[in-house]
């Protein structure tokens, strides 16, 4: 087969196409990346160059002052508007704890729900499905005041538990949907085969279905995490003190009525990026692992 000249030619053409594909893709990604790059760049710029006109492309020097100030370390440029050390570590730990916990629970509950939607039909199913859609359609801003009043009454306002619960509720619908879609790609014959082999429904679920939808679970996990990580409207109302405050409202604190402190904002944004990237990178490996096994099963 490989000696066939037309096949070789075909291979060459294919490799060329692959290379073109790769180059084209990287160009697109670069375009996508530019705004992100700008944000990161701003966080290491000298103050006077940040809002310069015309915009300065090549910075004349780099400085870590933005980060230093964020952590309350002395610099020649002086403090941010917040005047004093910002409890960055607390914000970080709050965000991490809340987002991870919410993601975990949302994945568990959402995957189970998705499985049910994909396999079973029962009274009230459409109703529940629509209910999930409805829940998804409601944005944070509409929920904020009623939720705040409710939580205040049961003492969940300004708590990590309160925020976690909210984020679980916010991310379950999407997780369930996504997992539903992925479960449907598994042909029923596989389930039946497993059952014939003596597995219970649950056993079939765990041993056959679950591994096959790992890419979906990974994707769902990433989205759930990022949703919780970057959510602003509800966090800004329910959290009030560093006891439960997460990064997004903390970020907004840099926007004064009169001045926005870009240094603080971008520095904190970059800090926010790091756990997000780490999380995504880890889950990604899971995605790849799940995919190779799925492909061979095919």
């Amino acid at each position: 087969m490989s000696e066939n000249p037309s096949w070789k030619g075909h291979q060459k053409a294919r490799r060329r196409k692959d290379l073109l594909n790769e180059i084209f893709l990287w160009i697109i990604m670069l375009i996508f990346f530019i705004p992100a790059l700008w944000i990161i760049l701003t966080s290491v710029r000298i103050r006077s160059e940040i809002l310069a006109h015309p915009p300065i492309w090549i910075p004349s020097g780099f400085t870590l002052d933005s980060y230093k100030i964020l952590f309350g370390m002395p610099t020649p440029e002086g403090a941010f508007g917040l005047g004093g050390a910002i409890p960055v570590a607390k914000y970080a730990s709050n965000s991490i704890v809340i987002s991870l916990t919410a993601t975990l629970f949302a994945l568990v509950f959402g995957t189970l729900a998705g499985y049910v939607f994909s396999r079973y039909k029962f009274k009230g199913k459409n109703f529940i499905f629509l209910g999930l859609m409805l829940a998804r359609a409601v944005p944070g801003i509409a929920l904020s005041l009623p939720l705040f009043m409710m939580f205040a009454r049961i003492n969940l306002s300004d708590t990590k538990l309160g925020m976690t619960t909210i984020y679980i509720a916010l991310t379950i619908p999407f997780t369930a949907w996504l997992m539903d879609g992925f479960f449907r790609t598994i042909p029923k014959e596989l389930d039946e085969a497993a059952r014939i082999d003596g597995c219970s429904t649950w056993g079939a679920f765990v041993r056959v279905d679950l591994p096959l939808v790992l890419p979906g679970a990974a994707a769902a996990g990433i989205f759930a995490f990022l949703t919780a990580w970057n959510e602003f409207a509800l966090a800004s109302i329910i959290t009030r003190t560093p006891a439960s405050r997460t990064f997004p409202p903390a970020l907004f604190e840099f926007t004064g009525q009169f001045v926005s402190d870009w240094r603080g904002m971008t520095a904190m944004s970059v800090l926010m990026l790091i756990p997000a990237i780490v999380f995504v990178a880890i889950i990604q490996r899971q995605l790849l692992a799940g995919l190779t096994s799925g492909a061979t099963k095919g």
């Binding site: 594909n21 790769e22 084209f24 893709l25 990287w26 990604m29 996508f32 705004p35 992100a36 944000i39 809002l51 006109h53 015309p54 915009p55 049910v116 396999r119 079973y120 039909k121 029962f122 529940i128 499905f129 209910g131 859609m133 409805l134 829940a135 359609a137 944005p139 944070g140 801003i141 509409a142 929920l143 009623p146 409710m150 619960t165 679980i168 509720a169 379950i172 999407f174 949907w177 996504l178 539903d180 879609g181 790609t185 029923k188 649950w202 890419p215 994707a219 990433i222 970057n230 970020l251 926005s260 944004s269 990178a281 990604q284 490996r285 995605l287 790849l288 995919l291 492909a295 095919g298």
Partner: protein, 315 residues
């Protein structure tokens, strides 16, 4: 029934009371999800619904009087602003979802073909999604600033014309600017879902097509596309309900202005409820918006839903 009692044996009498069969399994698995959502979203929404029938105003919070459908009538019949915002929102979502889909599909396909560096590509691709929407709002607001912004600066370097384009002000431009910001932020979402879908497809049909000499485009159109349709539908359904996602970004970039030119439903609700202090009116509007969006989505995807309920087990 007989098989069951035989297998259970001596503890049958005890077991009779807890007959949990497969019939109960789905409901039990759904239970935690439903409970949490009812608590966290259901109750506040009910409270909000109640408020929407009152005249609750934040400047006068002690006064809550029942006024029936007054708010709804006002909004639906006398507020042209509401309908304009709604129409604009529908247009915004439609455009955003479709463009994101096409872009996402293209990028996902290219990414799936990568021989190496998939992980890096995926991580880079997800960068826009990883920034908090409010930061994206600030960043793009600055990019599109007529005097100081990057976009005009680049245009000037390329064309040499120092025409200052007010991206956030003029009629189609403002809309385009927020659309660009939203697409930038959310295309990665599509890419991830679709790429996961593409990668989970079985490889044999593709190998067979390869041997048969099918071109890349043919493979895509005849194999990939049909097989990932469920993912496409899912992604689109979700995104089209995400009326609120763009809220943070738009709110910061233009605040729905100027002169309501970029007003979307949720920026309008926010201003009405929190700046105008007319919270009851805002609550009513939220409900109308939610119901309308549900109807809209349900109509669009009714066929999809019907086709999906084919594989379940009849209980």
């Amino acid at each position: 029934m007989t098989t069951q009692s035989v297998a259970v044996g001596p503890s049958r009498r005890k077991r009779k009371r807890f007959q949990f069969t497969d019939r109960h399994l789905p409901l039990l698995l759904l239970f935690p999800s439903v409970v949490i959502i009812v608590l966290v979203i259901g109750f506040p929404m009910l409270y909000s619904l109640y408020i929407s029938f009152t005249n609750f105003n934040l400047t006068n919070p002690k006064v809550i009087e029942f006024i029936g459908f007054q708010n709804y009538i006002t909004l639906l019949t006398r507020d042209s602003q509401f309908w304009k915002a709604f129409g604009r929102t529908v247009l915004f979502i439609t455009l955003a979802v479709n463009i994101e889909l096409i872009l996402g599909l293209g990028i996902a396909q290219m990414m799936a073909r990568l021989a190496r560096g998939k992980g890096l590509a995926r991580t880079l691709m997800m960068m826009p999604m990883m920034f908090a929407p409010i930061l994206v709002g600030f960043q793009f607001k600055w990019f599109f600033d007529a005097q100081l912004g990057l976009v005009n600066n680049i245009l000037y370097s390329i064309t040499g014309q120092s025409q200052l384009i007010p991206w956030l002000i003029k009629v189609p431009l403002g809309f385009i600017s927020i659309l660009v910001a939203e697409i930038w932020m959310s295309t990665p979402f599509m890419v991830i879902i679709l790429e996961a879908g593409i990668l989970s497809l079985p490889t044999e049909p593709f190998e067979a097509a390869e041997v048969d000499g099918a071109s890349g485009w043919q493979k895509f159109r005849l194999l990939t596309l049909p097989m990932i349709m469920p993912f496409i539908y899912t992604a689109m359904a979700i995104r089209s309900l995400d009326l609120a996602r763009a809220f943070d970004v738009v709110s910061i970039m233009t605040g729905g202005g100027p002169a309501n030119r970029t007003e979307l439903i949720w920026t309008y609700v926010n201003r009405l409820a929190f700046n105008g202090k007319e919270f009851a009116l805002g609550a009513a509007m939220s409900f109308i918006a939610v119901i309308l969006s549900l109807v809209f989505t349900y109509m669009f995807f009714n066929n999809v839903l019907k086709s999906r309920w084919t594989e379940e087990v009849e209980l």
